[in-house]
Structures are given as structure tokens and as C-alpha cells.
Amino acid sequence: MSKIPYEVYTEEVETLSVLSPDGEIVNKEYAPKLTDDQLKELMYRMVFTRTWDERAINLGRQGRLGFYAPVSGQEATMVGSEFALDKEDFICPGYRDMPQLVWHGLPLYQAFLYSRGHQHGGEIPEGVNVLMPQIIIGAQVLHAMGIAMGYKLKKQKHVAITYTGDGGSSEGDFYEALNYAGVYKLPTIFFVQNNGYAITTPFSKQTAALSIAHKAVAAGIRGVKIDGMDVFAVIHAVQEAAERARNGEGATLIEAVTYRFRPHSLSDDTSKYRTKEEEGQWSEKDPIARLAKYLEKKGLWTEEDTVRVKEEAKAKVNEEIKKAEKTEKMTVAGLIDSMFETTPKHLEEQKADFQ
């Protein structure tokens, strides 16, 4: 049977890789231009994030944190994408995206307070352009679109980036946001961390589309697919998307194929839905090991550096969790007062019951 000439889109999209698992640059023209100091800073942040994640899981098991979504394996997408942004750019995260917020300026102890269910955790300091992690999977995708509309109306050359996962790309809100961003040509970056599972549901059951990047086509925006375990590919894709956005060329959907080494949350058992073989294959693509190899060959990083950063990170995490634990508990009265700018009379009366 001959192929129909008006078929919409049937080609597989290529996945961009820049840094091979052996630490070699394989796609020179896409390698981000970073100074030696920037490269070391990038490595520092990735190692720090991995250590913080390991400590957070322990703190969670000790009951010193509340809800916590592990991040190991996704350091390239999380740290790398934030690294590619300017301070003024706005981040609208999903529930796993705490590292982007912290590297964008949210104090770590507030991240811990948020996990512990304390309102102050969400009291983002002035000048830090982030929202707290969103629980409703697609809601933040719309917020980034709206914030980008604000930048456009104010004629400011900043971008709003939002993160969701392969599961999030199935939400209605995701499509509405892409469509609006296309219509208004908004400076939005839709960054999908496709880690293969929406809690336990595999990607094969998430969509019949050839890729998530294809979903950009229907919205008339640019879609790209990258190796999400490759921090250079991430930085390139985000820098390019941000530059296009700042130039008025509109939104980009980036699908970054990545993997979470750990469970979805602390109450999830990966052995029920993944194999050891699969996990082993992905660990060979570890974004930190990959960057380390590259930096070691350039003489910019050693094993001792990794040990030193781990120690620094552990000390910092200890200090910040203590700060979180010492923060005065939130109160029902304070909660009531956070409903409205001026607390109405009926709430003042209800407040009296708790004082």
C-alpha cells in the first residue's frame, strides 16, 4: 500500500547527545561554551545535589523530612537546565524539581521546611523567581505560560521555564499551555524530564506518540529531544531555547530522556515495575560520572574533588536541616491569616478559638 501524501508526521525525531558516556564530545557544534570555572561549578552542583539527595532520603527515613521525591540520575536535567538560565528567568517546577529552585536561590533550609509541611518553606525570598513545587501535575505548565505572558506584556526579555515529566505531558493543562504559548509566541520553555515512569506506569503506556517532543508540532512551537543524562546537551538545548525566546521567536518544548535511579517517592518499591538489568543499563549513563570523565581528562577535576564536595554537601545539609528543625512551628492563627490580605471578621472569630 502506498504512503498517503498528507500523513502528518511519521519520522522518528533524533536525540541530541553532546557528551558520550566515556566523557568524549561527540557533537562539537552543540557543545556549550563554558569556562573552566563554570565547568567546575557545574560539576560541584551536580555532586552536591547527589549528596543532598542521598542525605535527604536518610532524613526522610528518620522522619526528619516529610514528602520527598528523590532526584539522583536527573542531575543533568535539573542542575544543567537551571545553569543555562539567567537569574531573572522564572522557574515553575513540578514536585521533584527542588534542585532547580535551590540553585536559583531558594535557601536549602526552606526546601526542608517545605518538605516538613511548614508554610515558611514556600515564602520565597524577594528576587528569587520561582514558585514552589506543584502537586497538581500540569498546573505549573500553565503558570509558566502566564508568567511568560507577563514578560511579553512588560516587554522584558526573560523566560519562564516549567518542568514536568512524561506523565505530566498527558495532562490537559499541558496541551492548553503549549497551545497558548504557540498562539501568543510566548517566551516559555516546556522542559519534560522523561524518566520513563509516571510513578510506576511505563512510557509505553503513557503515549502512542513517537516522542513527547512531537507534541510541540500540534501547538506550532519548536520541539526537541535530547539525551537527559548528558548535561552538555541539556545546557545547549535550554540556552538555545532561551535565546530564541528572548529574541521573540517563541516557545520550545524540550524532551530530555533521563532516569531516576531511585523510587518515585520514599513509599514506592521499584522492584515491582523495573528490572535490575534496566537499572544497571541506566547507571552506566550516569550524568555525573560522564562529566567527571570529561573534566578529569581536561585536568579540571579529580576523585579528591568529588570527596571534598561530598563532605561539604553533607556538612551544609546538616546545618540546614538543623536550621529547619529550629524554625518556630507554624500556627493555626498564622495559617488563618494567610487566607486573605486582610483577615475578614469571620476568620478573626475562628482564629480566636486557636489562641
Binding site: I147, E176, S338
Partner: protein
């Protein structure tokens, strides 16, 4: 002073605020060029440009999400949801995201948004165009709820809503858009959110109501007066916050009350109002407080809506019941 109907008064409020504050923006489905399916925003795009008043793609959740994003960016969005039944598509953004923003950001961000939507029966509209969904909104912490009954209030309440730094859900009764004209001052004035209005004084019974039912209740009160019964009618104007003080003061005088709402009877605002009356004024009551409301069915197709909606006769019957208790 100009004579305006409710629709013109709401438009005038938006015009005044667009003029006064460059951060006010209006958007929604079809609100730009044609001024909305009910022409409430007619002429505003022409006057203020496409960056201030603009059409959106047909997607209600995105309208809500864009409002939130613009609110965070320092704008004061007025987002129109074209018909009330379509708010279900946007409820996460309105009730979960906007209403919780101040709470979940520990006070760092607020959502100075007005969500406008037409609602209300008696106009033979299509399914899900007229339902009284105010109970749904009122049950959610963090959002204010306004339902005006006349052009003067509508303008003053709308200006207050736009200036409010918290999200306000503003419901406009379809049957009142063109029902009558009234004097509306030019320029700025506000009607405070959270203050009810005693529209008709009386000493025998208090009728507590809002929106279109204010007019139904006033008609009933006029009828009752012919038999010597003096009914006081309270127009709540704002349902969140609720002005219980005005209600209680009236009951102290009349000792009897009914609540009239167009919405279905159970678990609605009337039930809430009666609960608060019980808490604040039970010893002043000579009879139970009754509800006049729609029955607990889905809102009907047009054929029987006139029977379904509370009528002056049903209000009169309820008043007689509490008087003869």
C-alpha cells in the same frame, strides 16, 4: 449621573479601572473584538488596545492559569469564563491554584484576579449556561464571592473586586444584564466587599437573598404588604465574606427569617446562612428559618425552568409558614 443596565455598569467599572491602572488586563474567549458573547466588554479592546483586552484560545483552565501567572507578574487580571458551566474546566486553576496561592507561598505571592462569569436562570439558555454554582466557590477557602443585584452595586463591587489583592469570583446574573436601568455615578466609587444592603425595611420577617432573587423577594414583599405583612429584604451582595452582622441585626428586629436562593436546596449557601443564624441569633428566633430554593435536581432544560426557579408565590408561602409557626 448616567442610566445604565447591569451589563453597562460592569463594563463601566472595568473601563474606569483600565484607565486608572495600567496593570489591569482583560482576557477570555471572544472578549476582545466583539466584546464577549454578552457584549459586557464591548468597545474596551478598541479603546485600550489588544495588549490590555484580548481574546484567548478556547481553553478555560489556561485562562485561569494565565490569570495566575499574570497576577504573579504584578498584573491585575480580569478573566472571563464565558458561561458558568464551563468553570468546571478551570476549577483547579481558580479554586486550587489562585485561592491557595497566598497560603502556599507563605504570603510571598497573591492572586489579585477577578474571575467573571455570567450565570442564572430564566433566560431559556442552553444546558450548563445558567447553573447557580456559587456554593462550590463559597466552600473554598481563600476566594471572595460577589453577586450583584443592580447596576449601582455592580459597578462599585466590580471596582472593589479589581482593586482587591485576593482572588474574587464575580457572578453576573444573565436575567439582570438587560432587566432594568438605574442611576450609576460616573467615574470611580466602590461598594465595600462583605457588606450587605437592606433593600427594603420591615418588621415582621427577614428575607435574606442575593442576585436575581432580590427582585423576586421584593415582589413577594410588595404582595405581602397588601395583607399587612412587613418583610425586610436583605441583599447580601457578597457571599464571601458574608455579612452576618446585618442579618442578625435584622432578625433581632423581626424574629423570623427565610433565605431565598436560586441554587439547589441542599448543602448550599442558604444552609450556611441558617447555620450562622443558629450560632449568632437562635434566641431571637420565633420560628425555624426556612429555605426557598431550587429542588435538588440538575438544572432543568428550558421547558420547565420557570416552574423550577423560586417564584414570589413560593417566597410568600415560606413567609406565611414562618409567621404561622
Amino acid at each position: 449621573m448616567a442610566q445604565m443596565n447591569l451589563k453597562e455598569a460592569i463594563r463601566d467599572a472595568m473601563r474606569v479601572e483600565l484607565e486608572r491602572d495600567k496593570n489591569v488586563v482583560i482576557f477570555g474567549e471572544d472578549v476582545g473584538n466583539v466584546g464577549g458573547v454578552f457584549r459586557v466588554t464591548e468597545g474596551l479592546q478598541k479603546e485600550f488596545g489588544e495588549e490590555r483586552v484580548f481574546d484567548t484560545p478556547l481553553a478555560e483552565s489556561a485562562i485561569g492559569g494565565m490569570a495566575l501567572g499574570l497576577g504573579i507578574q504584578g498584573f491585575r487580571p480580569i478573566a472571563e469564563i464565558q458561561f458558568v458551566g464551563f468553570i468546571f474546566e478551570a476549577l483547579d486553576q481558580i479554586l486550587v491554584q489562585a485561592a491557595r496561592l497566598r497560603f502556599r507561598s507563605g504570603g510571598r505571592y497573591n492572586a489579585p484576579i477577578v474571575f467573571r462569569t455570567p450565570f442564572g436562570g430564566g433566560v431559556k439558555a442552553a444546558e450548563l449556561h445558567t447553573d447557580s454554582l456559587e456554593g462550590l466557590i463559597a466552600q473554598t477557602p481563600g476566594i471572595k464571592l460577589v453577586i450583584p443585584s443592580n447596576p449601582y452595586d455592580a459597578k462599585g463591587l466590580m471596582i472593589s473586586a479589581i482593586r482587591d489583592n485576593d482572588p474574587v469570583f464575580f457572578m453576573e446574573h444573565l436575567n439582570l444584564y438587560h432587566a432594568f436601568r438605574a442611576e450609576v455615578p460616573e467615574g470611580e466609587y466602590t461598594v465595600e466587599l462583605g457588606k450587605a444592603n437592606v433593600v427594603r425595611e420591615g418588621s415582621d420577617v427577614t428575607i435574606i437573598t442575593y442576585g436575581m432573587m432580590v427582585h423576586t423577594s421584593v415582589k413577594a414583599a410588595e404582595e405581602l404588604e397588601k395583607s399587612g405583612i412587613k418583610a425586610e429584604v436583605i441583599d447580601l451582595r457578597t457571599l464571601v465574606p458574608l455579612d452576618i452582622e446585618t442579618i442578625v441585626n435584622s432578625i433581632k428586629k423581626t424574629n423570623r427569617a427565610i433565605v431565598v436562593q436560586e441554587a439547589q436546596k441542599s448543602a448550599g449557601l442558604a444552609a450556611e446562612i441558617i447555620a450562622q443564624i443558629n450560632e449568632e441569633a437562635i434566641l431571637h428566633l420565633e420560628a425555624p428559618v426556612l429555605r426557598v430554593a431550587g429542588p435538588d435536581t440538575v438544572y432543568p432544560f428550558a421547558q420547565i425552568e420557570d416552574q423550577w426557579l423560586p417564584s414570589p408565590a413560593r417566597v410568600i408561602a415560606a413567609v406565611n409558614k414562618v409567621l404561622n409557626f
